[in-house]
């Protein structure tokens, strides 16, 4: 795209120079004739930012799958979980190798989840091994995280929010239900059972928001769609726990709102 605009400017400048103008004057007039760069950038963004219906569906699909996993109680089934993890891995590899299309970022967000969960499970290792595992695992995980964030942000800051959207949902529910550690199966089930319909609603909302994000053309509209899920989750979590989600729960929710709002804020500041 940039190359195409540059060739246009070069043609115009050459023509004006042929008419007797100096290089500087010709370049200035060519640039002025082009119109306001911000308007052109916005128009081009709006053309390329809208995904097709299929892309929108595919972007929302991982959230729908998670909602389905909970709705059908298959989240307890190791085989179902392994199949989904394998599918996510294959799709992430495919998307990464094929110019990272917009629909790929929600899948990437879920791919990061096992990395974080593995990290949090390290504290349950025997005491001597914890430090060793921490030293080996955390620098690697942080490097991978930083690399992925950098790559994603280089495409668009909004994609970082799109990618991270599932993480606050998962953390909020985990903290709110007090299952941030390893619990015996029956205890986990007792705590999760009453919240399952709300968890399903949370992921469905995330799916709808992602679908809208892909279809909306305007940048502000995309940022707005990403702000809906944390608000709904906040209400859901509060309803289930009667407002008692603990200090960390509130902190995570506040952080998620800030993280998701940051692209809109950065855009307004630019």
């Amino acid at each position: 795209m940039t190359h195409e605009l540059l060739t246009h400017l070069e043609d115009k400048t050459q023509e004006l120079k042929g008419g007797g103008l100096s290089e500087e004057e010709a370049a200035k007039i060519s640039t002025q004739a082009f119109g306001p760069p911000q308007l052109i950038a916005q128009q081009i963004y709006e053309v390329h930012s809208q995904g097709t219906w299929q892309e929108a569906f595919f972007a929302a699909l991982p959230h729908l799958l998670v909602a389905l996993l909970f709705a059908s109680y298959h989240w307890k089934n190791l085989i179902s979980l392994s199949i989904i993890l394998a599918a996510v891995t294959c799709i992430v590899i495919y998307g990464w190798c094929h110019n990272k299309p917009m629909w790929f970022f929600p899948w990437l967000g879920y791919y990061l989840l096992p990395v974080i969960i593995t990290g949090s499970l390290l504290i349950y290792l025997p005491s001597g091994w914890v430090w060793l595992a921490t030293l080996a695992y955390f620098p690697l995980a942080l490097f991978a995280f930083a690399y992925i964030m950098k790559q994603t942000a280089s495409r668009d800051w909004l994609y970082v929010s799109l990618m991270l959207a599932p993480l606050p949902v998962v953390f909020s529910w985990s903290l709110a239900l007090g299952i941030n550690g390893v619990l015996p199966g029956n205890m986990l089930l007792t705590r999760l059972q009453p919240a399952i319909p709300w968890i399903v609603v949370s992921f469905l909302v995330l799916a709808v928001a992602t679908f809208a994000f892909t279809r909306v053309r305007q940048r502000w509209g995309k940022a707005a769609t990403l702000l809906i899920p944390p608000s709904v989750i906040l209400v859901s979590v509060t309803l289930v726990n009667r407002g008692n989600i603990g200090f960390w729960g509130w902190l995570i929710l506040l952080f998620s709102l800030l993280a998701l709002a940051s692209p809109a804020w950065l855009k307004a500041k630019a």
């Binding site: 795209m1 190359h3 195409e4 605009l5 060739t7 246009h8 043609d11 115009k12 004739a33 082009f34 119109g35 306001p36 760069p37 308007l39 052109i40 128009q43 081009i44 709006e46 053309v47 390329h48």
Partner: protein
């Protein structure tokens, strides 16, 4: 409201399809050709042409291809697609009906 600008905005796609249908062409040439053929009537901010071209390409009405000229310069030539030709035919028909209707109302004696 600038009436002329609004008219141009509503018919940009039709004008661009018409030019590209005549022969594959590139952005700068389109601007020159539009200005020349309309005796200077159609002048729009040059940068705004490209979002329109890319939108039409996304809608599969045209297709852009980079070509290297004998002097080494590169140009992105736009070709009309089958779908673009169908869209153009429909828009020209709509335009003809519309202009006839306008003429019938404004100058009934000339019909």
């Amino acid at each position: 409201m600038d009436y002329g600008r609004e008219l141009l905005k509503g018919n940009t796609d039709c004008l661009l399809l018409c030019l590209i249908n005549n022969q594959p062409t590139y952005g700068y040439q389109i601007i020159k050709e539009l200005e020349k053929r309309s005796n200077g009537y159609f002048r729009f901010k040059e940068g705004t042409l490209y979002p329109a071209l890319h939108r039409m390409e996304k809608d599969k009405l045209i297709k852009g291809k980079w070509q290297v000229l004998p002097n080494g310069q590169q140009r992105r030539y736009y070709h009309i697609t089958k779908r673009g030709q169908q869209a153009l035919a429909k828009r020209l028909l709509d335009w003809r009906d519309f202009s006839t209707a306008v003429r019938l109302v404004t100058q009934p004696e000339t019909i």
